[in-house]
Symmetry: C2
Subunit: 405 residues, 2 copies
């Protein structure tokens, strides 16, 4: 019998217990032994839960028990999740987590501590909920250089943007509906301002390039400024606006950013709608692959946590494959402005202005969404180049969206 | 230095050598040692290839060399690929393959021989080309019961169907273009008749349910009968027609089939266009996940072969996780007719006939594509039930397409 502990018995923690219970036979077959939840750490008691007798309130009970080989941390927030993770790894227990805040902030250090203590630190559930993405990047794409990753990493904002597009509704109205349906929290800041997506793209960038950026310092634009004009432009182009976490290497530096992008219909990310997530990986041998599915939710996320648990419990000697991340220095980081891509500008002006803007930006697409307001799509260039070209015309843009081709 | 051999130096075989060479440093880091192609088995010589000196014409040279720990079989066809695989496994060498014909026909036996000899038999590249699907099913979805798999598993037919839809062209014209562009072979039978997709869905069904069906005996309908009328119906419904390999369990039996399906726009499979493949997995904990990417091609397929090589070379003790397949007996197999789904019928008749068909099939959608020809979408029911309901009206259908909701 393999003994594990669950830290935090909220949505994902209780979901993990449920997945382990529901699929007990399959899991035992996979691991060669039954997996048992010996302890649940939480501030609360759960007297009516079938596992209520496993609840403890002191992490030291778990740390001191040599039978516990693995700890699943699903507390959320940085503290004390970080301290408990360090303590568990130092006590020789592997740790799996769904906590993107901890992974994106302390992942380099935690992987290092795991390595020193010959245990594993896995975090499949920290990005894309239940969607397999971390393990495929490390195994299936192991022979590939990652050219870039672009993902819809937040289901709340994707639900809102999809509704805004389909119903022509405005941001505030749709946010209220999302809150009523439980897709958005009472304080939606982390979602709608892109903070959640920033943590996730920082984790994916670290997996791709070995460098952990500070999620608080990457260029992050949310969706609160998206208006009916944005939607109108996307409609005209036959595409959609999506909040994208994007990473790639520019001149040897790592660029990671979160921003609303304009997605043409030919890009499969354009069709990832509602609360779903979709992560497009561009790799030098494989080409483009999309991983699509439930980016959040109790059982999908728990499914990913349990996949990590099974992977660790069924392999004893996988440390060699653990990624090595180093913390980014200033010279490792590329500015979001360095991104070379097409950009879509909405500009207020006359048909002659439109011609001028089109010529200056080397664009092929230019159209009016109403009298006095047109959009133009530039040729691929950096943000600085595009700004300069536009400023030389004397025109000012109402907004600018990068295009994900 | 880890020594391997490549059997068959065609497109995928030479691509595998190329991926190993291009990503040499990354691969050495992953495996802890360099990986070297010691032998290439082929009937031909390749005097101008950098690895030309590795070419041998006798499998026994490879089998007798104890340094060779792994053999990558990319010969295609059943024979002698099957015999060489058996011999390599018996000689204590792990085998990876892209050969769907061998896996779908002899997979149960080859996995068993691998188990007996404590080596591995991996076949990620046999389904979906470069797309990670086999390993995610076995690791990321290990805690899930698979409720169903529906995939666009053949890029050639998807290219043809996409063109037919976008350009309103007919099958014969588009097939010629596909052949000219190298997307279809001179003899396109295996692709357009669904034989290739049948092999792949049989492999996925075996992974999901542990039972290996005979790819030659599952219900297989290709795309040669698709006409402008089919496309017109799909257009009216806002969806698309795709050739789908589908598997699920019906009353404890395994159903596997290949057929053109009508895909509504809300299903992500609808937007998998051109030569791309997309595999939708429905799992009891994760829900629906789509795996999308290049389903064929030299480097994408080789990327999957190399992923298998790396997985085996970096883990020594993964036999426990190898799937166990048993060959299907008659009572294991469900008839394709047992599939409960909506079905779309095209019927020639008057508006009164349309009302009659709609009522009989319990359908909500019914429309004319031209005078005297209407389609009706039934409520979800089995094929037998639907046929009976329709035959009671005295109407006959021009065609019937299952709907993938």
């Amino acid at each position: 019998m393999l003994q594990i502990a669950i830290l935090g018995f909220g949505v994902v923690g209780s979901g993990t217990a449920e997945v382990l219970q529901e699929n007990r036979a399959r899991i035992a077959k996979h691991c060669g032994e039954e997996v048992n939840v010996k302890y649940i750490l939480d501030l609360r008691d759960f007297p009516d839960h079938p596992l209520g007798d496993r609840v403890v309130h002191d992490i030291n009970v778990i740390l001191a028990d040599p039978e516990v080989v693995l700890v699943a941390e699903m507390m959320g927030g940085s503290h004390p999740a970080y301290e408990f993770t360090v303590a568990a790894l130092r006590a020789g227990k592997s740790v799996v987590t769904s906590n993107k805040e901890v992974v994106s902030t302390f992942g380099d250090e935690l992987l290092e501590i795991a390595r020193e203590h010959h245990v594993s630190y896995y975090f499949e559930a920290s990005v894309g909920g239940g969607i397999p993405i971390i393990r495929p990047l490390q195994t299936d794409l192991a022979s590939n250089e990652i050219l870039g990753i672009s993902g819809i990493l937040n289901g709340t904002t994707n639900f809102i943007l999809t509704k805004m597009k389909n119903e022509g509704a405005d941001f505030a109205t749709v946010l209220k509906e999302a809150q009523a349906r439980g897709y958005a929290e009472a304080d939606p800041t982390a979602d709608v301002e892109g903070i959640d997506a920033a943590r996730k793209i920082v984790i994916l960038a670290a997996l791709a390039y070995g460098v952990l950026l500070d999620p608080k310092s990457i260029s992050t634009t949310g969706i609160t400024g998206i208006t009916a004009d944005h939607t109108a432009v996307a409609d005209k182009l036959g595409g959609a606006i999506k909040l994208i976490g994007h990473t790639e290497r520019v001149d040897g530096r790592v660029l990671a950013m979160v921003s609303p992008f304009l997605i043409p219909a030919g890009n499969p990310v354009c069709h990832v709608d509602g609360v779903f997530n979709g992560i497009l990986v561009d790799a030098n041998m494989l080409g483009r692959a999309l991983f699509y599915g439930a980016g959040a939710g109790k059982l999908p996320t728990a499914s990913a946590v349990v996949a990590d648990i099974l992977d660790i419990l069924s392999h004893k000697e996988s440390e060699r494959l653990a990624p090595v991340w180093r913390r980014a220095k200033a010279e490792d980081v590329a500015d979001a402005d360095a991104l070379v891509c097409r950009r879509c500008y909405l500009i207020e002006g006359c048909p002659r202005c439109a011609e001028k803007a089109k010529a200056a930006l080397g664009g092929e697409i230019c159209a009016f969404i109403r009298e006095g307001a047109f959009f133009v799509v530039s040729r691929p260039m950096s943000g600085g180049e595009a700004r300069e070209a536009l400023s030389a015309t004397g025109l000012e843009a109402v907004f600018c969206l990068p295009v994900l081709d």
